[in-house]
């Protein structure tokens, strides 16, 4: 199978380049199922240890044993890209996956969001994550697993709380602010100055004033804690920055999932269709696998309470190429993320032909179709993607006693935080911040509340 796959892969690549795909080289590795499972769980081939990954691992094993979850491929954008194929999959499936990965590789090199993060972080996240894991292992040997775990509990809980518009390498806030400008002239001030009498003694300049920390609400919590926690040790700071670097790497994948999977699905379908060197049998088997992946519902069902990003993305991309040509599609692939993609390119016709709807789950678990309006469908698809899928929480103040005040922007999120979980997270953070930590949010009646740990 290997020599054949190798041969097909070379053919597919030549074809992809002829059709205009442009990508960094791709390293393929055939991996056993156990490693594939781990990669799916950890998000990276080698990553820091943490007990929460163990829980996800067991859930994944259970899902796989029940047949709910089959892993075809995982691919890490970079230069080179790294793709893992599963050794248990058939030749046809792995040919499909090879073509699919070429689509991802093209997307990752050309999409502006991917390109920006690639430029900031360099194209070697797999190696960097392994280096982080190694450093954390050294820390475990030095201070013990319990202490390292406390730091990872906090850092991984805040994983999504990074500033995705900011830079990977940020400098600290300016330490001082300029003295306030002299008072604005007011009519009273002018008249007062004209009163007879001795001159007011000149006020000596105050000099620079120490800036408050943070000077503005800071949403990059991992960076903020790494830089401003009162007693963080160097290895603890390292862990926060490692989690942050990995999190920033995950962001483009998260924010472009529908586009990216759709683009890869479009290209694997097209490459296989045009690959005249594939034997008929292999092609048929591969197309069968394609239709299993790119379908809206589980077999035998007529509705799904969820969107298959492969299917939705694939449908939109086909539509774009058909209506506006491949060139325009390449521009869209360069410029958009899922927000722009769904809002600009999911039109009424597509939404209706795909049967998209918004559903509501009411107390008692009754589920109803709520709406088929295009606006509502778009927003329901995008809602879980806002702000990296996390509530908007910012560090707003550090007090003189070193305590930290966080604030949740409940107005833009529409409701308050889950208080029990938020308290647990505050407890994680408090152990690292080593001073009291409080969090302002609202309760279910929209009244302001302050949680503390």
């Amino acid at each position: 199978m290997r020599t054949e796959l190798d041969e097909y892969a070379q053919g597919l690549e030549a074809l992809a380049q002829r059709l205009g795909l442009d990508y960094y080289p791709v390293d393929f590795e055939i991996a056993p199922a156990s490693l594939m499972t781990e990669i799916a769980v950890y998000g990276l081939p080698i990553r820091m240890p943490h007990w929460s990954f163990g829980v996800r691992y067991i859930h994944q094993l259970v899902r796989q044993s029940m047949g709910h979850s089959k892993i075809f491929e995982v691919m890490f954008p970079g230069d080179p890209c790294r793709a893992f194929l599963m050794d248990g999959n058939s030749l046809a499936e792995n040919s499909l996956v090879t073509a699919h990965v070429l689509g991802h590789a093209d997307f990752a090199k050309n999409n502006q969001l991917f390109a920006r993060f690639h430029q900031m972080a360099g194209g070697n996240i797999v190696e960097k994550a392994a280096a982080h894991a190694h450093r954390i292992q050294l820390a475990i040997e030095a201070v013990g697993v319990e202490r390292v775990e406390l730091v990872l509990d906090a850092a991984l809980a805040l994983e999504s709380h990074v500033d995705v518009t900011g830079e990977l390498h940020r400098s600290r806030y300016a330490e001082f602010v300029k003295e306030k400008a002299p008072k604005v002239e007011t009519p009273f001030g002018k008249r007062f100055a004209q009163l007879p009498g001795s001159e007011e003694p000149a006020v000596p300049p105050l000099g620079p004033i120490r800036a408050s920390v943070p000077p503005h609400p800071e949403y990059d919590l991992l960076w903020f804690i790494a830089n401003y926690a009162p007693e963080l040790e160097q290895w603890e700071r390292d862990i926060f920055l490692a989690v942050r670097a990995e999190s920033l790497y995950f962001y483009p994948v998260f924010a472009c999932q529908i586009m990216n999977e759709g683009w890869a699905s479009y290209w694997h379908a097209r490459l296989l269709r045009e690959a005249d060197f594939l034997p008929q049998q292999t092609y048929l088997a591969a197309i069968k696998a394609h239709s299993d992946v790119v379908r809206p519902f589980a077999s035998g069902e007529e509705t799904a309470l969820g969107i298959n990003p492969y299917h939705l993305g694939f449908t939109i991309w086909e539509h774009i190429v058909e209506r506006h040509g491949l060139e325009r599609a390449m521009e869209v692939r360069r410029d958009e993320d899922d927000f722009g993609f769904i809002r600009n390119w999911l039109d009424r016709e597509l939404a209706e032909s795909s049967g998209l709807f918004v559903y509501e789950t009411r107390p008692g678990d009754e589920i109803r179709v709520a709406s088929r309006s295009l606006e509502a469908v778009r927003e329901a698809i995008l809602a879980p993607k806002f702000n990296f899928g996390a509530p908007r929480v910012a560090a707003v103040e550090t007090r003189h006693d070193g305590s930290l005040l966080l604030a949740h922007d409940a107005a833009s999120d529409g409701r308050g935080l889950d208080a029990a979980r938020a308290r647990k997270v505050l407890e994680y953070v408090r152990r690292v911040w080593r001073r009291p930590v409080r969090l302002a949010t609202v309760n279910e009646r929209a009244e302001p509340v302050e949680l503390a740990a």
């Binding site: 290997r2 156990s34 007990w51 509705t303 309470l305 009411r362 589920i367 088929r372 698809i381 979980r421």
Partner: protein
Amino acid sequence: MIRIAAETPWYELFSRGARDWLRHNEKVRDAVKEGLPDLLAGADLMSRPGNRTVLVPVKFLEHARLRLADPAVQQGAGQGRGEPGDVLQPGREEGDQGAQAGGTKDGEIRFVVELKIDEIVDWLWEELKLPELKPKRSAVMDEPDYVREGWDKRGARARLDRRRTLKEAVKRRSVQENPVAFTNDDLRFRQLVKRASPATSAAVIFALDVSGSMDEAQRRLAKQFFFFALQGIRRQYAKVETVFLAHAAQAWEFDESQFFQASSSGGTVSSSVARLALDVLASRYDPSRYNVYFFYASDGENAAEDRDAASGTLAEIAALANYAGYVETGGVATFRPRDTQLAEIFAELKGRELPVGVSHLNAQEDVWRAIRAFFTEQARED
């Protein structure tokens, strides 16, 4: 150029997922352990021996993240047929318990751990690094008993040792020419000898002050302490008998099921329970044949005129027992400028080098501290 890297069979050799899963399980065990005292004291386990187990439901630990509170009506995007208003999944009927228990929440996996109490106690003993109890050294012997010792060529047929006999036959045959299969000389019989063995039975007397000043929480702490003290003693002795005494102004003997429910509004006369304990020892548990343990829980406030009587009787008990433990409940809530009367008495007894110990129980955590204190001290005695 696409490179297909070599397959790497060594992936199979280590699993990071399994490593982190084991770490999770360690944390679950720690969490279970923290809840143990409450878990065990709830059940009426104290006097029933045998294969007692507790079922501990265990949930996966959740690594918390910040997330929005669940709204009353949740929305999502779906795909398929249906017009606005169509029901995709009917709601639960009122009172449909089955469906509720089954739960539809993201396929949550739960498991139940069945723990043997004896194992838990063993584990606690190791965890707390508690020493083993020492039976009395003072040549306390049980009734002499027959034990097997040696072999003889004559004996009752029932005690024929076939294995040994066959061995003898093999030995003989190896040096004889034309040997016969067995001879009477080959037969070996097990011999029994009368021997006295050290006492392996213990009597544990629990005395509880149930006067009006002991509230529910204090009794609960006392019960937990008694339970673990008993478990510790059970680990050591083959036969453990328990006696439950409660007192206010008077003392009575109870069985375990009523012991903790007993209450009285009377005053506190500690010598009453001490006298009752002495009676019980004299009539049922001869201290020369039993390892006697006496545990007394009280809030320490004894009637002033009873001081001398209490001091005298308690000293008598302490002299007879392997160990006498006094736990004082409450104390933080009530302001006390000095030691209570009972605390003073026990301090005096300790000064006279009697095997006694004093501990305070104010909160859940104190139970462990007290258990550890008693067992370490007991090991240091004699």
